[in-house]
Assembly symmetry: D2
Homo-oligomer: 459 residues x 4
Amino acid sequence: MCGIIGVENNENASVLASAGLLTLQHRGEESAGITVSGKEKMKTFKSMGLVSRIFNDEILLNKLPGTAAIGHVRYTTSSKSSLINAQPFQINCIHGNISVAHNGNITNFPQIKEMLLKKGAIFNHTSDTEILLHLIAMSKGSLANIVANSMRKLEGAFSLVILKDRTLIGARDENGFRPLVLGKIANSYIISSESSAVEVIGGKYIRDIKPGEIIMIENGRIKKSFLYKKPKKQNTCIFEQVYFSRSDSIVFGQTVKEARVKMGEYLAQQMKNIKADIVMPVPDTGYFAALGFSRASNILFENGFVRNHYVGRSFIKPSQTLRDLTASLKLRPIKEVVYGKEIVLIDDSIVRGTTSKRLINILKEVGVKKIHFALSCPPIISSCYYGIDTPSKEHLIAANNSIEEMRKYLSVDSLTFLTLDNLVKACSFSSKKDDVFCAACFTGKYPTKISKNTYKEDC
Amino acid sequence: MCGIIGVENNENASVLASAGLLTLQHRGEESAGITVSGKEKMKTFKSMGLVSRIFNDEILLNKLPGTAAIGHVRYTTSSKSSLINAQPFQINCIHGNISVAHNGNITNFPQIKEMLLKKGAIFNHTSDTEILLHLIAMSKGSLANIVANSMRKLEGAFSLVILKDRTLIGARDENGFRPLVLGKIANSYIISSESSAVEVIGGKYIRDIKPGEIIMIENGRIKKSFLYKKPKKQNTCIFEQVYFSRSDSIVFGQTVKEARVKMGEYLAQQMKNIKADIVMPVPDTGYFAALGFSRASNILFENGFVRNHYVGRSFIKPSQTLRDLTASLKLRPIKEVVYGKEIVLIDDSIVRGTTSKRLINILKEVGVKKIHFALSCPPIISSCYYGIDTPSKEHLIAANNSIEEMRKYLSVDSLTFLTLDNLVKACSFSSKKDDVFCAACFTGKYPTKISKNTYKEDC
Amino acid sequence: MCGIIGVENNENASVLASAGLLTLQHRGEESAGITVSGKEKMKTFKSMGLVSRIFNDEILLNKLPGTAAIGHVRYTTSSKSSLINAQPFQINCIHGNISVAHNGNITNFPQIKEMLLKKGAIFNHTSDTEILLHLIAMSKGSLANIVANSMRKLEGAFSLVILKDRTLIGARDENGFRPLVLGKIANSYIISSESSAVEVIGGKYIRDIKPGEIIMIENGRIKKSFLYKKPKKQNTCIFEQVYFSRSDSIVFGQTVKEARVKMGEYLAQQMKNIKADIVMPVPDTGYFAALGFSRASNILFENGFVRNHYVGRSFIKPSQTLRDLTASLKLRPIKEVVYGKEIVLIDDSIVRGTTSKRLINILKEVGVKKIHFALSCPPIISSCYYGIDTPSKEHLIAANNSIEEMRKYLSVDSLTFLTLDNLVKACSFSSKKDDVFCAACFTGKYPTKISKNTYKEDC
Amino acid sequence: MCGIIGVENNENASVLASAGLLTLQHRGEESAGITVSGKEKMKTFKSMGLVSRIFNDEILLNKLPGTAAIGHVRYTTSSKSSLINAQPFQINCIHGNISVAHNGNITNFPQIKEMLLKKGAIFNHTSDTEILLHLIAMSKGSLANIVANSMRKLEGAFSLVILKDRTLIGARDENGFRPLVLGKIANSYIISSESSAVEVIGGKYIRDIKPGEIIMIENGRIKKSFLYKKPKKQNTCIFEQVYFSRSDSIVFGQTVKEARVKMGEYLAQQMKNIKADIVMPVPDTGYFAALGFSRASNILFENGFVRNHYVGRSFIKPSQTLRDLTASLKLRPIKEVVYGKEIVLIDDSIVRGTTSKRLINILKEVGVKKIHFALSCPPIISSCYYGIDTPSKEHLIAANNSIEEMRKYLSVDSLTFLTLDNLVKACSFSSKKDDVFCAACFTGKYPTKISKNTYKEDC
């Protein structure tokens, strides 16, 4: 789970890139970085932490001069967090200086790394992204050929932005697992993980980069755009719409917000026999589904939680008693809203089940009468190999328990998951076929071959 | 605009105080501080910045040992920001070590300061709070008498927490302008600006500190509680419910959230002739009023803005063109929601009018058809002398323009302010009389004498 | 032990003050601060740490605009270290804004504080300096009278700089314990703890501020200069020349360096029967005395230690074994220089004796044959009440042991202290009488009345 | 100009490495880093700045667990300063995780890099050190063979420490340009740029690593030690003794301090016709030569400068007038010592001549009568390709001016350079032949082939 952005042909390349990263910050809070080129030598600045803490006037204007830029925000589990894997990765090779930022998971990373190690390659990072740089450095021919040849060797999920001199390159794996869009602002093209990042900085969304496509942009013009690999049937990650993408990003002609409202409407259909006083979301991701549920069911929409956005990760936890404070500091039920009520509680999904259980407990403590818990996606029964940091199967509650078992564990009065059919309908604006999505986390049917040796890492 | 908290008879006094301040952070983001006592010598730690950045394990557990604590978060306009006025103020005087944290505005500060200066007092701060410490130091008698005598000399708005050894004191001016509540957690009493801070840390709200009341607590027991001054008719600030308080805080037996929903309902009554496709809030304070409006009007509730909570004050503004980015980085309309629509837009209030104008422009740029702008309070025509940082009269748009002039300036199709009657009804759960509120900002009728020499400072 | 500086009538007042503080940094490393006035409102910036870490372009030029400035560096024992007592102290009182920086120890601080507390004064600091500000605030009359009246009430040791608007005031107690000099650079007067600070910033030393003198300077002219108290016979601290002052500062017409060379020469006379291969200093303060010893004795001067100036206080000490590293990291004997040699080792003084013992052990470990340990002052047998941070009597090794006992404890072959007569001769360039010095630490004869109630604090 | 250290078989490997780096800090103040292995996965921590600021308890004990460690301090000109080239360089390759720290200059870097680029190698740094890692990764066979084969391809000056698992490797080029010594502490071997770093941390100097030698150490035993390349006649850098090494480090059986004393003695011989009142050093490097000069000439040794060790690079320079302050803040002449005197001023060397000229001016300003300027090495007429950061020939004053021209430029009464013969005699304790030194900077005779394509970089 990462976010990437590329800007070209713009005097404020680093500023636009940082503004884009700020809009993509929900895709990764661990580290952020920007590479610039086009004026002086290619330069990269990256650090652990939030975009707004890393980039400022001094750094953007003085230390990152350039007319082209790529940027990256990275999500990682804390145990692995380290500056060493912060992106973009900038290198020097036979083709000159090149920098890459990556969102996804290269499933044949260990096999290619093994091959590269045998050839004498050295690795400065532990991330799968580095192999692409090695493949590029070992390829010959035009820049287009070099990138295409290198990417053909990769398997799995990867949306990429690559910077070389004044050329910005965008590319996407042949399944199109992770999103990548093309936009434009004045004479500059933008490539971004989400359309909202294009629009927030004043640009217009043009189209998605296609699965299997490489696009090369220079001086405000698309120099080349081609399929480096025959596209498979599209397998865009459906979970982007359930949870990951920003609500104003556009997917398949509708905003994510609109898809989420429909998820709630379909949930209301599924639960039409349920009577409740109010429907309320788990902030912030359950919000639009709850709104949709209310519209379709005519059950009163309420906001029964107060979320404190000031509470960061740094707050202390000196003892178990006090550690419990942190949860209610972040999210606190409004007793007056929920006391004695029968409620429909809407969240996006259940992974391990522990967070949901804690929230439900908090609600019961303030006197909720009945809880109908509804999720805007099906049970997650399989781990993701395409860039979402889901845990392995043994930690997925739905992979090891029946719905009734989960209901008992969570101590709710009913437990409803949106069906895959309804989820697909909610996401497909224009009656597209269901094969346009990857729903492997719900079905276990992986669009690519997955074996014991398949690599899985976040980002 | 500040927030205060006091904790006593608790081994984790500093931790609970910091958790309380975190919940009161919306009342002031400029500086934060905590004083402890009861174990070692009284100690104070304070700094510029957010609570979560200032306090951590090391500081709370090692540097702030104590069984009693008071804390403060401070709001100031940037031009005056400086560590020198961060609270609490800890001093040594004839009565020993004493620390004070204050929310309000002492209107006769200059007169008392003048008197104190003549007596040879020295001032280490530029804040009005310091005079109370001087008055205390110059008083004689029991602790109760000392505090009472000192407070009798103050005019204006002040809710206070005072710490001396193991004694926690709470006090409120005789009009009760600013809120102050009493709560309890196990064997510890809590005093806080808002009930939510009591409840978030696991305590129970007991009652409001009364106008003109001083309460003295020690070792888990209320030692003394008395009226140091005859209370006036209560003049609790009604703007706390319109904008300032957290939505889950309780005022007059109902949550602020509930009052805001009703404000929306009354607005819907006022605007019953208006037809619109959707009603949407300006995030986050217009939220509940918009919900109430929708319920009462049956106009569809929508969320047409995406707010980015990652965008802080530190982000750069290198040029006018790029400065404009910051606004849409923080708040961006979802085009799909608003395009071609006739909307009711709900915000809490208009002060200068500039922020509203910018938001309305942004909405028009993405194609809104018609905007009916509604505010959940009357026009603000007078500056506040009781602790809210409103600008002086010449900068208040409603003080200098008719509603029609404002409508034209804002370029909206209609402009509606909640009437004072309706606001009062929304805030008074149990049909209380209108004299329980101060509404001077809307009426210009100040409950205390206001002259040219009246002091006005924020906090 | 602190250092103070004042600058007036200079566009670069804050820059000159910070440069002066940098030159006085050896007088205190704990905190540093500067107050400015004369342009905008009086402002103070202070922080814990070294001058070069606290003050930079941004702070000096943008945050400290002014034509007059006073500055302070503070030494404290770590247990008391806290920003609360960092100086200068800036206050507002009936006379306006005033700031003070102080070097010394006010021996009747508790008595005056008691009196002030009874009058209702409040104390924001725990330092003795604050009482002067109270006394000033309570005085009436011209600025000269106010300061003079206030200072007349103080007993003990105090050299002061005071800033009010464009007026810089310097003052010294009637014994003249701590140094204070007047200098000039172009049209600006400078007041400083040491002449070297005047000269380093390009100024010329003019004269010492006299014991009991107040000098008031404004717009480049001495407005007034008078004795506020009848001077006692001068009691300048002789330890300034033994250890505390910078070697290029001028005292009584000679540099401190010159006095130290003479101390060594007299030591050589005292030890003329001793035969040794080399004489070597403990860096850096024994340096000039060792040079003088070598010249007078014709014993070869050697430098047998390497001192590492990079080793700061922050370096870690994870275990006893590794803690021992810190000593040799800071100061390491050169084996080739000392192996098998009979040496004269010169240090300035012995306080507790523990540091000397450790150094002597280190020398023995690398094979020194014999050590004749010589000190350039007499045994310290009494604690200082005039601003030097000597421990109380029970911790002074010479107060509790004979010279022979000390020799045994230190395991040296001989132990010689410079006699007081010789020390006085070394320090008095122009055959002045011995009454110009305070030598209470060597004699126990205090020039002022000292009782159990006498206050003693560092700085 | 850099410093390196290696420690193995020690529970406190990271602590000892950091203590060693602190002792080598004079070899580079720009950045510092440490790699550890032997316990958990190999880890590297590095940062810009001084050792004492980078490493602390938390980092050494918690973040750098290991039984073996290598460390590096780096000097660079500010224009190139960047974290990207901070060492050690840790990589993963076919042989596992390997880390390298390097002192020297690989003269055929561009040629090898070109070859590696053609093979498809990627470069993450801009430093010459990285090519060694590539050569290692591409080699096959035993660890000894891999390192030997790789090093055989390198030309120029390089002393290296390499870490792999529990094996510490030290290696030196076949000319032995840069120093590298072997030491031992209890059961742990130490490898270090200078013997003083071994001894400061409690170890014993054993011997120099030989030119052309690779030494492999594991678990407290030397596993292997061999010449990977036939050693050339030794070409140890003579400038290490003139200026660069710490005075207590041992070279050729004598401390650097002793060599410097002799340089002064030979200078006195060369200048026996000169009459002067005093001889004084430029602090701190001229110190021992001045002492030797005084001993041999019987001219009085004096210390005429006060050096302020608190003055760092961070101090401000707001205008030309004030910029001049910085020089005298750092180094200030004691007027009383030098006024009206005829002096011999001793410095180690002249590079550009600008610093010397400024010092001489300062001395003249305070009234020196005559200056005989003496340098403890010959004129520097050629740039160094073996790791010393001398500027190119056009900036070397002695390469472009006769001695008389330099004397006039510096405005001194006489100018004397130590002859190469005398320098060699001073440095050669046991009458070794002159071929044991590289003196290319004085002679222009480079021990290796130097052409236009020869690479020259600092460190």
